[in-house]
């Protein structure tokens, strides 16, 4: 229990902030002009988005033949990027919903940006299967709607249809969850700013929020329910994504380990992406007292944990394949690691399993300049993980006569760059028009030592120390 004792005495937010300080600090970026760094980053992100848009426009106009796919490798960059981006989104829901249910109050500083990240990542992900259909203007065919062809319904027994529903629901619920969390903060922005576009936006979107506790009381119950719904939802989403593969008969795909393996990998890559963004945001937006070294330390531990789960999955699937005595399974895995595309497997294992081991050291977990490259490498590794699963399993399947190889075309690389461009463009705009830290939640976890901060006697929780500070406000024991 030494850790718990430590948590009790270290405030979650540094700098001995008052409530008004929180409002001022978080609203500051909304009141001042963007920095040079923001302009430079926005220009870079927007250029990447432009490159991607040109690539996608050319692909739609010409056809899927502009990609390097062939009859053997029917899925490659597109589905790799799809799975990669869906995975990135998972950490947002982990932080906003699962950590909320687990009463981890440190999440309050990071949940807003993590949830925003989820929404943008799922947007990036959604683009890939849609353009992969070849005729994206008919993408609505993926949903069952009354039509003049019978009506002909979609095949509810197909994992691709499950995927459609999973991603659609995930995007909608994440958006709603994010918006519900934003409502009180939008009211703060509305009341603080005098005029301008942001004030107008906040006035419309804050729905007339006036801080009434009767509303707060219901709000907490709604937030708790959304967290309860989002938790199984997020687990189901990557489970269903993994079924796109696991229900197929291709060696290397047809494995029962896939759902937990994919979910852990998704959270792993997502936490890395949250860390990448937070490390940049806290420096450039002067939020070091809100996103403290302690937050980064905890996130690094999460990264290490999920890296461990992913490592176990790698070992297990390899062992199972070799132990199966099925020649196709054995070959698929030996080919993965030592075949012509073995270098991708090498990148995957070194970035996802070996490099994160550095995080065992406390000194590493507390040095942003070491963590930052680690988080980037983790995401490189996780992108390659999906590439390894998809391409190395496909390119040498059952019949050697149909073996083939795969090389991405510039169009596919352009699309990959474009998806990063879309993600960062959205994120940078978000940083400028909405509060990046959940003010109403941070105010609830300010240090109890501070005069204007909570002393929580008389509640159902013992008031000694600040155990209450560990509780999310929506949950009563």
């Amino acid at each position: 229990m030494a850790d718990l004792a430590l948590i009790r005495h270290v405030p979650l937010i540094g700098g001995n902030k008052t409530l008004a300080d929180v409002t001022r600090d978080v609203c500051r970026p909304l009141e001042t002009g963007p920095t040079k760094l923001w302009y430079v980053s926005f220009l870079a992100a927007f250029s990447a988005l432009a490159i991607g848009s040109v690539a996608v426009a050319y692909q739609i106009a010409t056809g899927v033949g502009t990609w390097g796919l062939n009859r053997t490798v029917g899925w490659a960059f597109d589905i790799t990027c799809f799975v990669f981006w869906v995975g990135i989104g998972h950490a947002g829901t982990l932080i906003s919903a699962i950590l909320f249910l687990l009463r981890q109050r440190w999440r309050t500083s990071v949940n807003r940006s993590a949830e925003a990240m989820t929404i943008f990542a799922v947007m990036c992900a959604g683009i890939f299967p849609i353009i992969h259909t070849g005729r994206p203007w008919l993408a609505y065919w993926l949903f069952p709607y009354p039509n003049f062809r019978g009506p002909l319904w979609v095949n509810f027994r197909s994992p691709l249809v499950w995927d459609c529903f999973a991603i659609g629901t995930y995007f909608t619920i994440s958006l709603v969850f994010w918006y519900v969390g934003l409502m009180p903060d939008l009211a703060t922005v509305r009341d603080r700013l005098k005029s301008g576009f942001r004030q107008k936006l906040a006035s419309v979107m804050s729905l007339g929020w006036n801080g009434s506790f009767r509303t707060w009381h219901r709000y907490e119950s709604v937030y708790l329910m959304l967290a309860g719904l989002a938790t199984p939802l997020v687990l189901s989403v990557h489970t269903i994504v993994s079924w796109d593969f696991a229900t197929g008969v291709i060696p290397g795909w047809h494995a029962t380990i896939f759902p937990p393996y994919f979910v852990a990998g998704a959270i792993f890559s997502g936490v890395a992406m949250v860390l990448t963004l937070l490390l940049v945001a806290r420096k450039t937006m002067r939020l070091e007292e809100y996103i403290t070294i302690r937050h980064i330390d905890v996130m690094c531990k999460l990264l290490l944990l999920t890296s461990g789960i992913v490592a176990i999955a790698y070992v297990t699937e390899f062992f199972t394949a070799l132990y199966s005595t099925n020649p196709y399974e054995e070959f698929a895995f030996l080919n993965r690691a030592f075949g012509p595309m073995g270098w991708t497997y090498g990148i995957m294992v070194s970035c996802n399993v070996l490099i994160p081991q550095l995080l065992w050291f406390k000194r590493v977990r507390q040095s942003p300049w070491i963590i930052f490259p680690i988080t980037l490498l983790v995401n490189v590794g996780m992108w390659f993980e999906r590439f390894v699963i998809i391409v190395t399993s496909l390119h040498r399947d059952f019949l050697p006569s149909s073996w083939s190889s795969y090389y991405p075309t510039p169009i596919e690389i352009g699309m990959l760059i474009g998806s990063f461009g879309l993600f960062f463009t959205c994120f940078l705009i978000f940083c400028r028009i909405l509060p990046v830290i959940a003010m109403a939640e941070v105010k609830g976890v300010l240090s109890p030592a501070h005069p204007s901060a909570p002393d929580r006697e008389g509640t159902s929780i013992p008031a000694t120390g600040s155990e209450a500070a560990l509780m999310p406000s929506g949950v009563r024991s």
Binding site: A20, W153, W162, V204, N210, G211, R218, Y219, W243
Partner: protein, 174 residues
């Protein structure tokens, strides 16, 4: 109908909590409290009943689940049965994922919608703020005169004990 209310404006959560508890104990009617964040334990201090929204959530989940399951059976067994790889007509396990997603979607959207309706929140609504700084750093307790024995002094002394920033008396016309 017009009514007379007293506002106690506080700087911190604990003063508000103590004042609320004491007001309730001395039988003064609490109209509402206004806070910048969800103050832990204030619902008990105010004597609020637990929200009934979980029932809305549960109901919507059941309805969403039932409708989706029915639709999947109807579409694939009755309306246009298509044999896909010899799979049985009653493919319940294969119907589970979509049914689950639709259940979550129905429950989540309905709960939030019900919350907005009950709390009378709608886009572009003009907020009625009882005091400035409620969405920043002020905590306000609103008490209502509810009988003939209303004594402003007594209420004032009660609130003054908890270090308010201000105590105001207001007449509200409705």
């Amino acid at each position: 109908m017009s009514r007379r209310v007293v506002l106690g404006i506080f700087e911190n959560e604990s003063s508000l909590l103590k004042a609320t508890r004491e007001s309730r104990q001395s039988g003064v009617k609490i109209v509402d409290a206004y806070t910048p964040y969800a103050v832990h334990g204030l619902d008990e201090a105010m004597g609020l009943r637990p929200s009934r929204l979980p029932w809305v959530c549960f109901g919507a989940a059941i309805v969403g689940l039932a409708l989706k399951l029915w639709f999947e059976y109807w579409a694939t067994m009755t309306d246009w049965p298509i044999n896909i790889g010899g799979k049985p007509w009653d493919s319940l396990p294969a119907f589970v994922p979509v049914t689950f997603e639709v259940m979550v979607l129905a429950a989540g959207l309905t709960t939030v919608f019900a919350f907005l309706v009950i709390s009378r929140l709608r886009p572009a609504k003009r907020p009625v703020l009882v005091a400035s700084g409620i969405t920043d750093n002020r905590f306000v307790l609103v008490l209502e005169e509810n009988d003939a024995h209303w004594d402003f002094r007594r209420i004032q002394t009660l609130l003054q004990k908890h270090e308010p920033v201000a105590v105001e008396e207001r007449f509200e016309g409705e």
